[in-house]
Symmetry: C2
Subunit: 862 residues, 2 copies
Amino acid sequence: MKYIYAFAEGNKDMRDLMGGKGANLAEMTGMGLPVPPGFTITTETCNHYLETKDFPVGFFEELDEKLDELQHTMKKTFGSRQNPLLVSVRSGARVSMPGMMDTILNLGLNDETVEGLIEKTNNPRFSFDSYRRFVTMYGNVVLGIAHDHFEEALEAAKKAKSVSEDTELETEDLKKLVKVLKGIVLHHSGKPFPEDPREQLLGAIASVFHSWNSKRAITYRNLNGIPHNMGTAVNVQSMVFGNMGEDSGTGVAFTRNPATGDKEFFGEFLVNAQGEDVVAGIRTPQKISELRDRMPEMYDQLHKVQKTLEDHYRDMQDIEFTIEHGVLFMLQTRNGKRTARAAVKVAVDMVVEGLITKHEALQRIDPNQLNALLHPSIDPAAKKEVLARGLPASPGAAVGKIVFTADDAYRLAEDGEKVILVRKETSPEDIHGMHAAQGILTSTGGMTSHAAVVARGMGKPCIAGCKEAHVDDKIKTLEIHGQVFGEGDVITLDGATGEVMRGAMPTVEPELTGEFDELMSWADEVRKLKIRTNADTPFDAQVARRLGAEGIGLCRTEHMFFDEDRIMFVRQMILSTDEKSRKRALDKLEPIQCEDFKGIFKVMNGFPVTIRLLDPPLHEFLPNTEGKIKAVAQEMGVDYGELQKMVDALHELNPMMGHRGCRLGITYPEIYEMQARAILEAAKSATKDGIKVIVEIEIPLVGHVNELKVLRELVEKVAATMGALDFDWKVGTMIELPRACVTADQIARHADFFSFGTNDLTQMTFGLSRDDAGTFLPYYTEHNILPDNPTETIDQEGVGQLMRMAVKLGRSVKPDLEIGICGEHGGEPRSVMFCHEIGLNYVSCSPYRVPVARLAAAQAAL
Amino acid sequence: MKYIYAFAEGNKDMRDLMGGKGANLAEMTGMGLPVPPGFTITTETCNHYLETKDFPVGFFEELDEKLDELQHTMKKTFGSRQNPLLVSVRSGARVSMPGMMDTILNLGLNDETVEGLIEKTNNPRFSFDSYRRFVTMYGNVVLGIAHDHFEEALEAAKKAKSVSEDTELETEDLKKLVKVLKGIVLHHSGKPFPEDPREQLLGAIASVFHSWNSKRAITYRNLNGIPHNMGTAVNVQSMVFGNMGEDSGTGVAFTRNPATGDKEFFGEFLVNAQGEDVVAGIRTPQKISELRDRMPEMYDQLHKVQKTLEDHYRDMQDIEFTIEHGVLFMLQTRNGKRTARAAVKVAVDMVVEGLITKHEALQRIDPNQLNALLHPSIDPAAKKEVLARGLPASPGAAVGKIVFTADDAYRLAEDGEKVILVRKETSPEDIHGMHAAQGILTSTGGMTSHAAVVARGMGKPCIAGCKEAHVDDKIKTLEIHGQVFGEGDVITLDGATGEVMRGAMPTVEPELTGEFDELMSWADEVRKLKIRTNADTPFDAQVARRLGAEGIGLCRTEHMFFDEDRIMFVRQMILSTDEKSRKRALDKLEPIQCEDFKGIFKVMNGFPVTIRLLDPPLHEFLPNTEGKIKAVAQEMGVDYGELQKMVDALHELNPMMGHRGCRLGITYPEIYEMQARAILEAAKSATKDGIKVIVEIEIPLVGHVNELKVLRELVEKVAATMGALDFDWKVGTMIELPRACVTADQIARHADFFSFGTNDLTQMTFGLSRDDAGTFLPYYTEHNILPDNPTETIDQEGVGQLMRMAVKLGRSVKPDLEIGICGEHGGEPRSVMFCHEIGLNYVSCSPYRVPVARLAAAQAAL
């Protein structure tokens, strides 16, 4: 077993073993690009270490060998006073997890080698500044001492000297500071700061290994569906310095614009700085184009390198570089994160450029990312009061209440609030809050700051580096030009323009680009699954059609019941004590429902429309608090006590498993009769108007074949009273109970179609109520008890097995049985792939998810 | 296809076609016993008629042929004025459904034939009395005219003559009455009363067919698990008359005592009466032994016949006979319904007598019936205030509130009340109320009255013919010797003695007879399934051991939490906001739980004990109304608001699918740690005391293997801290979620045993909450949408399929995996059979169900 690979020994295909960063450093080395020499310790070594709490046998020998080689190449010696070798130690997992794990720079410095560095650089201030940074970083990251302690010492040093900037500290101050910092290390760790560079190195390597299991790394993996057993590699690389003066610098750049996808070399740099300064967003960097003026030769060289890299990798690259005394070094390349818009544009452009194929283009894009493209943006016609302008770090419109901490964001979002997370800058500890927020606003940091990178990855609107905004997270205020906003005040962000606006702005539908349509048309050529939508109104149906829906897979009739002009009739129906008065109320609802359906048929002209008959328990239509009951009683002119009694009578201990779905249809047949009549009447009338109607009447919550049989007969009885029906109509059922899955052969005999209701099926199969699972489900996914949240992606092992069974049993009776899915999983890419795999005919999802499903279905077919 | 069989053409094995009554009449005819000639129209004809609403082609020809034969045999002619043939028309299904369907007597009478009857009987009063009865019966049963109308006419006739008894009406009065009754028929049916006997006959046959689908018949079938598609046969039999004077009579009898099983000829008769008079309980009949004095010859003949029948059928017979002018006729024989006690005694006695084998004896008894034997009776030591004494119609003690109508009984029982149904007499319309009541008290009727027969069948205590009780169901009072009781007053019935007592009497355990033990020992020889019990206390465990339990299959630890001395600690635990104070509360619970377990181990010395860790959601341990919350807050010395907040925080929308079971164990590991420690500590201590402990620690509500894995590790970690454990202990899981069934192979890898929790499994599989299903489940079973209530008997098609899957998958990984069932189905005979069939190792049920399960398991094995 080989534990360590020199960069020169590896290549980009060794990602599993060397991690992404290591494999790419190796690849660049192989390409002859200027990469500071180094080596990579494998992910397997990490896993061994995490399992056994020790390095594997033979590891130290290999490490010594690689160190020797490195010293030889660099002509420097680790720990040498004369010519000391300094290295960086960085994590690098198979999948990029930016900022999630540990990095240590300047490793190798001690009281001896700092003198060598001074001699070599002839810059004592730089050398001691590097030293104090190293002690701080090592003390914090490797030895686990709180950063505050070191920060306090730095502040004290500045105070003692009555200066306010770090840069104002002089060599002697820094020298003293290093001593103080080492005192802090001794005090808090109980051991002196390790002077031996080899001990430093082993400590740093172990620390990177451990950081794989840090809380924030685990959270990140959970959020991004990354397995927990991959481990991280460790890259040990000789240091180059961007902070050696005005002929030095560091930067990050993209081969194309990661926000728009435009083909332009895009990025930022800082003169006389180390790489962490750019990423941390502490200083606001300059645009890469300005490098051309400051260091033209460097710019040309870099520009050539980036072109070479993009052509080589055949994808947009995200690169990091450092310039040391006018010499360019490449520190990283990887496929660049990009906005959805950019992803689509880059993929389509690259097909046009002949760089990749259509199929590759389709597989390049994470379907989930498309969401960002499809959400409304701010209505351009609306009058907007722009409070401030920042960097347009991640596009999209976000409206919400201000919160100042990630925890607040998380907590309020859990309560259903829409919030905007407002921070000076974000850090990896804020991930959960960023995830919970509608959008993120930071007052510092650039387009490649933590906030910007993470928000783009999440497809969340983000404005970064908004200097006009003054954030005080102690007293929780956001001050902009003298106006003070507090927690709970509503603002709007436009991540595409960088504008921060007062109040809640109206939003409009996204305009989709030509590239988007192009990509979607390629997806449509490839996919086998049909894509339908869940829509309850002509408006939603229209949106979905525009986004490519080929029919409605779920029209929930009860949503129509809640509208102001009809809820009264619904309540009258519920309060009816006999069939006659119930029918009277239903008679009033019928023409309204009929109109609803007709509107939908018109939009879906020629496409199938699945309409589910009433599903929720009746108490959902009644008020549930004393105040509301009183108000409704008054409005309806009924006795309060009577209404209260009805509310009490309808109360259920477990309403999800109560008197709902087809159980309502069976015990109150007049409700389903009305709905069936309204559907067929609407279809008849639409047909007369020249609309091509294909309607599927769907019976929900069928557990036993007899339920479907009885209700199918009911629908057919209604149909028989309606004269000629010159359109295509069917009767089928939701498959959403475990019992329906295991008896699907019986049910299929009476069903023209099946539609999996995976929301309820998941809940019943797990015995888990989504509404109540907040107390344990997050714990389950965080602690890897469940690999995924089954309410988000189909649990293929459990729920999926029941689905397979239902498909097999159903088709054993009717080989051509149409089967779809209409649970929320229908728009989730992994679930869509699964649906393709088990042979469904279509998936149905919310309108804005339709393109996601189209792409996922194409990827499934490829 | 043959539609009609003469009695002489059939035999007892033709029950499917001829119904029970017809087949037995045929058998008796074949045995040469005196049966009035007649024929049977098959069940298939009924089904054809019900399906097509018409008699099948060829039916009329066959009917005419059979009528001709009958006229020939009887030397009488249908419709003849000289010598008219009169017949009875009776239903007779494959399975006896006493009183559920229609009967018409004296058919063939009209204005002509009544004259013939007078000539032949020389008894004009009798003839017109028969005629008016026939018109009434036909008008009511066949033509569907309310009985009240006819009753009013009868009352008016009596009033006109100023008499109070029917018997005081003379020939002329009756003649006039017939005219009035026919007027009622014309008025209500719009058609004159049919004078043509053939028309009468066809109407009666059709009416019997229809009565198969009467509401009461459907209810009866649902209650008794009888399929709805069998149809009924119709028996047309020449009339014999028990009401021809003092040398005539009628009676019903049993070849053995149906209450005790004693070998004695047992029954009742009425002189000068028709059969319906005995069954309807209108006149109180004489004991059969008195027949010996009144008509010794008849008695001897009858006694011989009954002996012949019992020997022939090899079972206790229930017979009906009529004596017409000193000639004995047998009208029916069938296997007699009997109390559980009688069933056991008869079966065991018949083995001793050499009449049947042990295996036959085991199969003779409906396991459900044993329930009646096993329920407490009134404490003989208690001081009792006997209010009145009636006939001991069905043994057992019943305590409850008085209700006067079947509907009230049903409604209150639904609300969880225990009620006693008090009636003058019961009728088939009262079935649902009798089912719902704890016991039945009637003021009229004998040991073979409707109330008595039905109650015995149901295993319910019943006192019939309690003449001291005066029931007024209009004003809802029960008056006994001047004391008036109203609705809601509590009384106690002792069905074994016939005593009605004031208030709620204390009850004691049943004493089991030697015959019972004998039968159970035969069952134990045969069965393959082990029988365990669900018991949470040493007391219950002791009861179950005495009834033959071979271990505990489910010990619910939470039931122990509710006791007064510990609920406080449980609440302290729940209110703890940190782990430390939670542990403090748990520390107080631990020794108490430990003692509980030790007590159970002692009782179950050498038998396995499965202990389930905490299962219900925590809010079940907190008060749930404002008043109770205030009281508990005060008691605990905590702030009301704080407690209310905790109650609110723990509120769940669907608690059955919420934070419970192993989800509690995972999120609050200290609770399961405490329980595991208490169990192992108790086992250790009991072992030290010489007890043989076999303990199975059971993790509830596992849906994903990782849940079990994590909690198994937790238990093992606890065990590792406890030193040597010199007893047998295992860790396993409940299988109660559909997901657990379909992933049982994975789960089995970490489980030492499985135990099906079919209560929850049924609810999840159907998506049906037992607590909420009252609004539709009764409708479902009544309307045959579900063949059975799946919460009562395992739904073999759905839930059962998941169970089969779990057994197969589990044993594919561990061939010897111990698998049991602990849901309430574990004591239900059909479910026990199913468990045997799918290869479970044991069933576990409530203590009093243990003998039921033992017998059912034996029957399954046979």
